[in-house]
Symmetry: none
Subunit: 204 residues, 4 copies
DNA sequence: TATGAATGAGCCTTCATTCAT
DNA sequence: AATGAATGAAGGCTCATTCAT
């Protein structure tokens, strides 16, 4: 049987993961500039040094976080694509809403995008990840419109881009919904989506 | 006759304006946290102290900048509303494109929105300004759809919100267009706009 | 008749006096380091510039203040010396108590003494003024003991020195008396004084 | 066996002590306001940051210094109380003279007292320490008078207060004795002390 | 590997001082 | 003479990073 004690490698992996999870919360809450190494390591229950044992620098933590976070979102999105056609619209809406429900998530993405605008090195990595996401989203939309028997109103990639931008943009430009209040932004997005599909049908 | 030398009040007004202009560039380039008082004053050609002769604090500079910047955008938008109906669509598109052409503008707005999420005091002031903008935008859209004889696909305020969010979001999520390259994002927005109006007409 | 308007010279003298009075309050309240030129001039109802029109520098204001303040105390003390012998003890006690009643006065004297320890230039001026004060005090004591028919327990200058030091020291080392509460320090000083005179009488 | 190298805790304790020793010198020389963190850390041979690794803030350094310094004086005083009765007067005189010999000590105490007048938080801590000192001093005086068979001329606490105030006050109001010159103030204090005790005996 | 004391660059802010008005 | 905008040198403090333990 596996011993209760973790091996060295597992230990370190665990530390790394905890640090990244803490970094996600702290970067989201305080932004890149406002997040200090001290804050992050304390949030993870470690000392400053632990970060430097696992990452090159503060920026490296951020970069790795970008990879991990975007990867997670991608995985979720792939589940949506692979799901049942009848549940596509709902699952998509759900996926999009995450950003509105989870304020941390919004702030984190915004910080990533700002960083990409500022650091070319970071940009290269980040835009590649984002492009993958857009493509996956486009695939979802294609399946969705096909399932509805409605022609797409524009290039799928452009539409995917627009949907992602809209979701992010509308959430960012509104006050954080008070807990308990339903995120109003979701309603607008859904409404827009329906407009597309319904009016298209009407067209025929 | 007016003296060649500026009066003291004029002098100070000039300094203030130059500082704000510099602040706009620096905040946009480095973000709120990354913009230092030193950087801003140097960019304006003054010493650090000049800022504190004209503003209460760094945050006060940022707040004033928000007011001035949003005010400018509002004035432009009001010109669009007041313009000739036939040129409405073009003028609107133009107005929206500013954000894509001017990277500074984008970064600044993003910083404003982030700050609003972080500082309740700032939020209060900022969201009020933004709401005014949304309303003006809604008025433009109403005039536009009426001129085209097309019913609006949704509540004008929601649509205005969506258009603004989309413009901002799509620009932020794309790499900064290399100078010379046309901003690709504009194409998507225009395409979306046309989809709305054309399909609606088809509906009849 | 004298015109209501002051002459130039009178105007300036008035400004100077007001500035010094303000300086006294502000230096006392905030100490030399904590008193800013802005604070002083504002307290006097003028702008910063007024100070530099009337004094060389911040230190010059302090120096002049020392002269004016010590001069005032000397004048008061001379009134005590010149007064009626029977009222000598009371008047002296009164004079000493000023320091305990007026917290500002205490802080100011302390600041002067500290400055004298730090700046040799200042020291030269200050100790001369203080010596005059001590001599005057010694004269008062001599008259007092003679009036009481009691021999002085020690050299008059030494005793004067001791009394002044005691008054200052005991006030400084106690918490500021809450307004309304009688200054407790006065009691100790009077007690000490009586001890001297009474016990001396008993000696005979 | 103990390693030649200090353990980490010992290292830090050493740093802390050196910083405090440096702070004592610098605060004494320049006063609270004039002592900068830079100056203190440089005097100790460390960088600015070392102070913030060991103390909360500048005021915390000062407060800790007050504790350490007053503690040291208390310990010395307790040795005086516990000493042989016959040597009491001499030891006491010695203890009091420290303030006159050590200019730094004087300035430091004065700064402490000023700070207590300005900061209520500091006051609370400081006056408690001072009260302990006064009580110890009162105990010394009681033993002294008893050993001499002389009744105390007033309440022991009041007399202790007066002696401490006198010592401090007389030193502060005199020019710093040139090195080599005997501190003249000591003579006055001893003379005063003798007056008390001798005259009291005469009384009988 | 993880710790955390120490470093030192950099930040926001204050303030004595200057000088054109 | 008085004003107050602008200067520029500090000052207290934060924080990414290093390194001995």
């Amino acid at each position: 049987m596996r011993p209760a004690r973790l091996t060295r490698a597992e230990q370190q992996a665990q530390t790394r993961e905890r640090l990244l999870a803490a970094a996600e919360r702290v970067f989201a809450r305080h932004g890149y500039g406002g997040a200090s190494i001290d804050l992050i390591s304390a949030e993870a229950g470690y000392s400053k040094g632990a970060i430097y044992s696992n990452f090159e620098s503060k920026e490296a933590v951020f970069l790795e976080l970008a990879r991990v976070y975007m990867g997670r979102r991608m995985t979720e999105l792939e589940h949506v694509v692979g799901g049942e056609p009848s549940k596509l619209a709902g699952a998509l809406s759900q996926w999009l809403q995450t950003m509105q429900v989870d304020g941390d998530c919004l702030m984190l993405v915004t910080e990533l995008q700002l960083q990409a605008r500022r650091s070319p090195a970071f940009a290269e990595q980040y835009y590649a990840l984002q492009q993958k996401q857009t493509r996956a989203m486009a695939a979802v939309l294609e399946r969705l419109f096909k399932a509805l028997g409605v022609p797409m109103p524009m290039d799928p990639i452009d539409l995917a881009d627009a949907m992602l931008a809209l979701t992010h943009g509308i959430t960012l430009q509104r006050p954080e919904p008070k807990s308990g209040t339903p995120a109003d932004a979701g309603r607008v997005i859904d409404r827009l989506m329906k407009t597309f599909t319904r009016t298209q049908m009407a067209r025929k």
